[in-house]
Symmetry: C2
Subunit: 281 residues, 2 copies
Amino acid sequence: MRNMWIYESLYPDIKIGLTGQLLYKTKTPFQDVRIYDTDRFGKLLLIDGAIQTTEKDEFIYHEMITHPVLLMHSNPKNILIIGGGDGGVLREVLKHNIKKVTLVEIDEEVINLSKKFFPTLSRGAFNDQRVNIVIQDGARFIRKTKETFDIVIIDSPDPVGAAKALFSKNFYIGISSALKENGIMIRQTGSTIVQDGVLKKNYKLLKAIFPYLAVEIAAIPTYIGGFFSFTIASKSINPHKVQYKTVLKMFENLDLKTKFYNPEIHFASMQLPNYVIEDLQ
Amino acid sequence: MRNMWIYESLYPDIKIGLTGQLLYKTKTPFQDVRIYDTDRFGKLLLIDGAIQTTEKDEFIYHEMITHPVLLMHSNPKNILIIGGGDGGVLREVLKHNIKKVTLVEIDEEVINLSKKFFPTLSRGAFNDQRVNIVIQDGARFIRKTKETFDIVIIDSPDPVGAAKALFSKNFYIGISSALKENGIMIRQTGSTIVQDGVLKKNYKLLKAIFPYLAVEIAAIPTYIGGFFSFTIASKSINPHKVQYKTVLKMFENLDLKTKFYNPEIHFASMQLPNYVIEDLQ
């Protein structure tokens, strides 16, 4: 069978197309989930028409949402992941010397399908003894939890539908309460060009709550729109003041075997082009 | 009239689509040229099915192919641009304290159409007294020229069709001869992911000729495939050894009014992710 063009439908005026075949589709109680096998990027997870991840380029997103914050913290032990049902962040977190990681995913079907169709994303991470899976809305989890965390990673889809509450002021106040005093949070804040409102809005919301912020950028091929952004926030750690040699030493001791991340990229990714700097002022 | 989807046809298995309308199309003796007005990125120049530039994101490419090399050189006076008929590189070069810039474009029609449809790219640069326009094949110009240059910027399309000779060993030997002893060249070497062969091949060709090389990366929204690359080569200047404070001082004195480039991004852009480092070994 000849492969067809698969298009993302996230934006009305720009899209990426990849050739491939549909492997599976379903409507869960929360979203429309489709899995394709693409010629260029291997298997592709599409949720509500938006590309979530592909086998070939997932390493960029998953390494950059995980290693910079874990290496900024001198001793991360208790980690919270909100979203991340595909298991990619979990896999990267488990490379660190941590005690416990809680993954809060609203849609159990995403975990089940990822285990089946994307085994290289989680690579058995869901079976690790240190992992606690909670099937719940992340915003609700944050309102209710009594636990505090060293690191919170918000690996959510874009601010539409079910994920909208994960981009709100109240949610960030909750995150602040759920972080230990020297805790650090990171979240994806979208493309700096085609979604520039997302970065700006969330940066401002976080700035009103956290004294220390940093924005990290990286290019992820299947996330269209140039530099993609992550925003980091902390009550006591200034990401820009962390020493290169400290990060390098931890990186070397852990032997992370990264395909994208290295300590040079760690600091380089927090240097922003003028159009982003101006957007955040 | 309802806007249509305009697709790039550079790759068989991945493409970008933008909504817009066709403004003009022609076949020159060298290539198929189409100009569109897009909803997201303003006017778009498509040559032989490949996106060359758009009004809204051209600043990233044009600033990053120009300012890093001009600011690495302590006193650039005589500049050569090969290609660049749209005038974007010319505009950025003329912001520097230079004496002369020669632009060698094979297709005069590209210059004429750019002046007409993309006035913000050249912003009158073609009329500047310091500019010398040569309508000629760049490879032929390099074989014949007796002039030597401080900076050579190769702003060519991808290595297909007319531009193929601009990615060859003999061409780079010619560039080396046309550079003064402390001269620097830069060229675009494509996407680090969807065109990884282009960067690797040209890096190796240049490495056999030039003792000092550096690769610079940036994300350009309408060039699909993640980090886009530029390769820098010099006979005597090591791009990694240039001092930050030297670049900062020149940058401030020139008042370049950049929208992407700043001295921090200058150095950050030369820090490469592991997958690129491994590709170049």
